[in-house]
């Protein structure tokens, strides 16, 4: 009886102690291990999420790089960067051929930045490849292509205005005194007449003519038409039917601007 009682007490003690040790191991070793592992997994998931955002922003970045020499034989290049993406872009480097120029330019979304002109050494027959790199690892090439310097001048786009006139109204439907002769005058911002009273024939069908210009900029276009007598004039005479400014914004805009006129009473308008 006494032996049985002692045996029971012993088993109870060992069970309790074993349980305590087991619980101790669970709390002091297993649970911390699980917590460390879970924490590592959480950090990993967080990092993956951050990388996903970074990659997404990188894909959303969209810059357009426009490079244009300041003059036909200038050693300076104007570089304009337009941010057409939805995220702020940070340009950190400009490459001109194999020379890099460190930059630190932030360009907000849907805005543009004109960089300081880059002075380069002109080499006859050499091509100039200009690229911009962002901190997100995107590299953008010039929208205007690789520039080339040949025969002592830059090979660039042809710039100019293409004036497109609608069909000239026939006699029956004509409500004004217009005849079929036009003259076009194009004046630059300094007041110099680049085309002075340039004659054009306005056909019954639509007429058009291209006026080549050397540089981008704002120009005043004046159009006169040969008219029959009337309106205070005793004989045939010229009347001004259009006078307005137009701009060529190349390299950001098109090098050739098409101006399509419409007849509005005694004048031409550009809708």
């Amino acid at each position: 009886m006494s032996t049985t009682g002692t045996s029971c007490r012993r088993r109870g003690t060992s069970t309790i102690m074993g349980t305590l040790i087991f619980v101790g191991i669970i709390f002091s070793a297993f649970i911390p291990m699980m917590l460390v592992m879970r924490q590592a997994d959480t950090l990993h998931e967080m990092r993956k999420h951050e990388l996903g955002i970074l990659d997404q922003e990188r894909a959303m970045e969209n810059l357009c790089l426009y490079v244009c020499p300041q003059g036909i034989d200038s050693t300076f290049l104007d570089v304009t960067i337009v941010n057409k993406g939805n995220v702020v872009a940070h340009v950190i480097k400009i490459w001109i051929n194999d020379i890099d120029y460190p930059m630190n330019v932030e360009i907000p979304s849907m805005s543009d930045e004109e960089l300081e002109p880059f002075e380069i050494t002109l080499v006859e027959g050499l091509e100039y490849d200009i690229r911009a790199m962002t901190d997100r690892g995107n590299v953008y090439t010039s929208e205007t292509g690789i520039l080339s310097y040949q025969d002592g001048k830059w090979v660039t786009e042809t710039l100019g205005f293409r004036l497109i006139f609608p069909s000239r109204p026939g006699k029956g439907s004509r409500t004004n005194r217009w005849l079929n002769e036009l003259r076009v005058t194009i004046i630059d911002k300094d007041g110099i007449e680049l085309y002075s009273d340039y004659p054009m024939y306005w056909a019954i069908s639509a007429s058009e003519n291209f006026f080549e210009l050397e540089f981008a900029g704002t120009y005043t276009i004046i159009i006169d038409i040969w008219c029959k007598e009337g309106g205070g004039y005793s004989g045939q005479h010229w009347e001004k039917i259009y006078d307005d400014d137009h701009s060529i914004t190349w390299p950001i805009g098109d090098p050739v601007i098409e101006i399509k006129f419409q007849i509005d009473g005694d004048h031409l308008i550009v809708p």
Binding site: R10, S14, G18, S28, R47, L51
Partner: protein, 146 residues
């Protein structure tokens, strides 16, 4: 009578001693198991965390070949690390691996790989592979200019 009492006293001591011994054994074995478990689990947790950090660093690597230039007979390669972890990188052109030692590039840093002496003619198209010690690759195609 005295002898019987003496024997009874002896019997009373034996269960106490055996209980003590048993407890000591249980505590010792339990302690050893406890210490072993704690050590093993600590090592397991550290290994796991270390492998997860390594994996995170591997997937965090971001780099590009930002520029390549060939001036006969040297091929120059520039690499930009735009990721958030430092990388160690080499390049491979054809079957040539270059340079012998890994190039370390800090996060957000650039590196110009020391020029590789390479024979190429105008119009050749080179496939340049930049790879890191962690096993990530970036490929770049380069047309040798005239």
């Amino acid at each position: 009578m005295k002898e019987i009492e003496r024997l009874k006293e002896r019997r009373a001591i034996a269960p106490v001693i055996s209980a003590l011994i048993l407890s000591a054994v249980v505590l010792t074995v339990g302690g050893v198991v406890w210490a072993y478990s704690q050590g093993a689990m600590t090592i397991s947790a550290e290994d796991y965390a270390y492998s997860v950090i390594n994996m995170t660093d591997t997937i965090s690597e971001r780099f590009i070949v930002e520029h390549v230039a060939y001036v006969n007979p040297n091929l120059n390669v520039w690499i930009y690390n735009y990721g958030s972890v430092d990388i160690e990188v080499k390049i491979q052109v054809g079957i040539i691996t270059h340079p012998a030692a890994w190039i370390e590039i800090m996060a957000g840093g650039f590196a110009e790989v020391e020029p590789l002496s390479y024979t190429a003619t105008s119009g050749d198209e080179l496939s340049i592979r930049a790879y890191t010690r962690r096993g990530n690759n970036v490929y770049y195609r380069y047309l040798v200019p005239s």
